[in-house]
């Protein structure tokens, strides 16, 4: 995934906080997704669209761990949310 990939929540994704969990309704796949603490943090950071690099940098500020491992886990998580219909991943325009 390119650093400049733009990550945007789908506008029809509905979420609610229940105690220590966040539950999100995905209308495209008609399913519910539950997020743990790290997932909740990523979801909160994506309240406004972010590029992958900015997202990873903010997570590195908040969570300890190897930078490459964080990025790998984040990419995996984002692709899962994309396949659940909760966000879009927009690749950067190729250079002319």
């Amino acid at each position: 995934m390119d650093d400049r990939t733009l990550i945007t929540r789908r506008p029809d994704a509905m979420a609610t906080d229940i105690d220590d969990a966040t539950v999100i309704l995905s209308l495209p796949s008609n399913c519910y997704v539950s997020l743990d603490a790290v997932g909740q943090r990523i979801w909160a950071l994506l309240e406004q669209p972010l590029c992958l690099q900015a997202l990873v940098e903010r997570l590195q500020d908040q969570f300890e761990g190897d930078a490459n491992a964080i990025r790998r886990d984040v990419e995996h998580f984002l692709r899962e949310l994309e396949s659940d219909g909760l966000l879009t991943l927009q690749a950067p325009e190729p250079a002319a």
Partner: protein, 325 residues
């Protein structure tokens, strides 16, 4: 003519009318008992569209197509079993109408108990009605049997529509609880009977059905929801659910099936419920009669903080984000 639920009356086996004033008309029924009526292919082709609900209720009833919030099409079979027909109408069909109106429908009995509203959910045979009957004997007042429809009130609380004054109990439970007088066989379950709560043989407390069915928007909301499950252990186990586990358990309480178009409204109300209602899981031994233990556990855990008339849970709005309106 027989009154079978709070909103339906069967007249002369020809058509169904509504037991309410025009201003509160719940149903515009377009079904007639003329055997030659058949669903057209054009009508049937709509069943997969949003806000259409199709149900083949079997050879003793016929087929239903619920259209939107007010219309029910019905194609009768050759010989309609009246009680079975009315049961399907007041359960699956009514649930579909409520879902189309954006209400949340639970497979649950609801009671007014200790100054709060308590819903008891669980799959068929879990013991919902038996537990409800036991609570009634300890002073609870019946609100709804088997199907509980909820909507948001003025303060974010979930108000409950009053149901028919009846209880579906197993023969054994009805006999054991002394409620078998005046009971009639269930049209759908050979091991169950229907106990009327307002019959001449019973003086069982139940809410008086209002013409509108729904209470005032400022009425107290649901306070507790208990999910009944069979357990493997020797004892009754009651535990409070939270977070994702609560939400998952809630899915087992819904009177389905939810279609994608029903889901956003349902989600909003589920979020309200998850935030404003205490949700419990109660596991009971399957191998012995343990109703008193179940009731004792509920009485102890669900004790109301006060009976001042103020609903302590009728205040908080849910935090829904981002585009929930």
């Amino acid at each position: 003519m027989e009154v079978v639920s709070e909103f339906l009356q069967l007249h002369d086996h020809k058509h169904i009318e509504i037991l309410s004033t025009p201003s509160s008309t719940l149903l515009k029924l377009e079904c007639f008992f003329y055997p030659h009526i058949e669903f057209s292919s054009e009508l049937l082709s709509k069943h997969s569209l949003p806000h259409y609900f199709f149900l083949d209720a079997g050879p003793r009833v016929g087929r239903f197509l619920v259209e939107g919030t007010h219309i029910i099409h019905f194609e009768p079979c050759a010989e309609v079993d009246e009680h079975h027909f009315l049961w399907v109408l007041s359960h699956h069909v009514r649930a579909a109408l409520h879902r189309h109106r954006g209400d949340l429908v639970l497979h649950a009995n609801t009671l007014l108990w200790q100054c709060g509203l308590l819903a008891i959910s669980g799959s068929s045979g879990a013991g919902k009605s038996t537990t409800a009957a036991g609570l009634i004997q300890r002073g609870a007042i019946q609100i709804a049997d088997d199907l509980t429809a909820l909507r948001a009130g003025d303060h974010g609380q979930l108000v409950i529509r009053q149901g028919a004054p009846q209880l579906h109990l197993t023969h054994a439970a009805a006999e054991r609880l002394g409620l078998d007088r005046g009971a009639r066989p269930s049209p759908v379950r050979s091991d169950k009977v229907v106990v009327p709560l307002d019959g001449p043989s019973n003086t069982i407390p139940h809410a008086v059905t209002e013409p509108e069915g729904w209470p005032a928007p400022s009425a107290p909301g649901l306070r507790d929801l208990v999910l009944l499950e069979p357990g493997d252990g020797p004892n009754v186990e009651l535990s409070r659910l939270r977070g994702a586990e609560l939400f998952l358990a809630l899915q087992h309480c819904l009177y389905g099936p939810l279609k994608p178009c029903d889901t956003p409204a349902s989600f909003r109300l589920q979020a309200l419920l998850a935030r404003n209602v205490r949700v419990w899981r109660l596991r009971r031994p399957q191998t012995r009669w343990c109703l008193d233990e179940v009731l004792d556990a509920l009485e102890q855990a669900l004790a109301a903080p006060s009976c001042s008339g103020q609903d302590p849970l009728a205040s908080a709005e849910p935090r829904l984000h981002p585009a929930d309106g």
